[in-house]
């Protein structure tokens, strides 16, 4: 899965436009980043990467890159 696909999965979870998301985008600056979005990201990571975010992982999500980091981990494990 390339960066574009991953950004599109994140955009889908946040209900945002994929073009609006770059790795360096700060989540707090996104209008869509609310508690529902957090839950959607948890669901997306669980479904597509079998990754479960723990309370501390959720707190340390600052940029889109931080979400991408969780999406990479599992892929590396798989290969």
């Amino acid at each position: 899965m390339d960066l574009k696909d991953k950004l599109s999965l994140i955009a889908q979870a946040l209900d945002a436009e994929p073009e609006a998301l770059k790795p360096e985008t700060k989540l707090e600056e996104l209008e869509e980043w609310d508690s529902l979005a957090v839950v959607s990201v948890i669901a997306m990571l669980d479904k597509h990467f079998s990754v479960r975010l723990k309370p501390n992982d959720i707190k340390s999500l600052v940029t889109v890159e931080d979400i991408l980091a969780h999406m990479k981990e599992k892929e590396a494990e798989k290969s």
């Binding site: 669901a43 669980d46 723990k54």
Partner: protein, 335 residues
């Protein structure tokens, strides 16, 4: 032994997404919320107490089913918003309904798992020869705990009461159970009303309002829910509960005609259904015009499914409740 009848009662006042959109102005998108959580409107108890809602649901059950009141020999009432610390709400409701004074009655304090627990208690009482006709009332007025400026819970919860009649005639086959239960008190802090009982009595301090990171306002006297943590908990335990319950009952997914889960919210249920692999047509969703009524959601959903013809006599259902505690329970019921 089987479930003979279900009725429910919802308070008259409603709170719609459009009402909330007006109140919360730019911070709240009515359409987005509906798309995500599948709720358009909830019923809100204003002056009605838990005992009154419970009695209305029970009266409806007696008039719809024609079952004689004086035959009820046990009343079970599940709530986390009782009329008083004491006496027991079930005792108040016994008198309101005019049930026999030889009727046993007690409350039990559980949330979203409460209905399945209630069926288990009823089964135990009947199987042990202590009762024949059990009236199970699951009733909640959570909205009274909710701060008006806390969008996170106000959007989800609604009030309501369900009455379920479980009866047994000698020689009847048992159509309730297998059961499966689970508890993890480590999750207690994630869905809680911290102040008001003996661990932390209400005071000026507990009434102090605080604003969280999302802009929601609440005090320690109010209901608090950590949504992401609760979501994680359900992803952890519900799929396993379904699997283990099927194994215990020696059934496969195909043997279940309809899955009726606690109606938490649509997003959570869609995620669980997807993870477990339950076909959409076997999975009942029923929260659009009621919200999450805690222990009342499963019987309310069963009643609506019955009225819509989604359940017929002889159908096999799997019921699963999960939430506050953490507490969860599942059971197989033959209708």
């Amino acid at each position: 032994m089987h479930i003979t009848h279900i009725s429910y009662f919802l308070p008259e006042k409603t709170l719609t997404n459009d009402d909330l959109a007006i109140e919360y102005e730019s911070n709240w998108n009515s359409k987005k919320i509906y798309k995500k959580i599948g709720i358009k409107s909830r019923h809100i108890a204003t002056t009605e107490t838990t005992s009154q809602l419970a009695a209305r649901a029970a009266e409806k059950l007696f008039s719809e089913s024609g079952f004689p009141k004086d035959k009820i020999d046990f009343l079970l009432l599940c709530t986390q918003s009782p009329d008083y610390f004491l006496p027991t709400t079930a005792c108040i409701v016994q008198d309101m309904l005019g049930l026999s004074t030889s009727c046993g009655a007690f409350d039990f304090n559980l949330g979203c798992s409460g209905f399945v627990y209630g069926l288990a208690i009823a089964k135990g009482l009947i199987a042990g020869g202590m009762a024949k006709n059990v009236l199970l009332l699951t009733v909640e007025t959570y909205t009274k705990y909710i701060h008006p400026k806390d969008k996170s819970v106000r959007t989800i919860f609604g009030d309501g009461a369900a009455a379920t009649l479980i009866t047994h005639e000698e020689g009847d086959p048992c159509k309730i159970g297998e059961f499966l239960f689970g508890t993890d008190g480590k999750g207690a802090k994630n869905l809680i009303v911290p102040a008001g009982a003996m661990a932390m009595p209400r005071s000026d301090e507990t009434a102090e309002e605080r604003v969280d990171e999302q802009g929601n306002v609440r005090s320690l006297n109010n209901l608090y829910m950590n949504g992401p943590e609760i979501f994680n908990f359900t992803l952890d335990i519900v799929p396993d509960t379904v699997k283990s319950l099927l194994a215990r009952a020696k059934l496969s997914m195909d043997d279940i005609d309809l899955f009726v889960f606690h109606q938490a919210n649509k997003f959570m249920l869609d995620s669980l259904r997807d993870k477990i692999g339950i076909p959409e047509e076997k999975f009942y969703l029923d929260m659009e015009d009621k919200g999450n009524t805690v222990s009342a959601t499963i019987p309310i959903a069963m009643k609506d499914a019955l009225d819509e013809g989604r359940i017929s006599r002889g159908d096999r259902l799997m019921l699963v409740g999960f939430g506050v505690g953490y507490s969860w329970a599942g059971c197989i019921v033959e209708w």
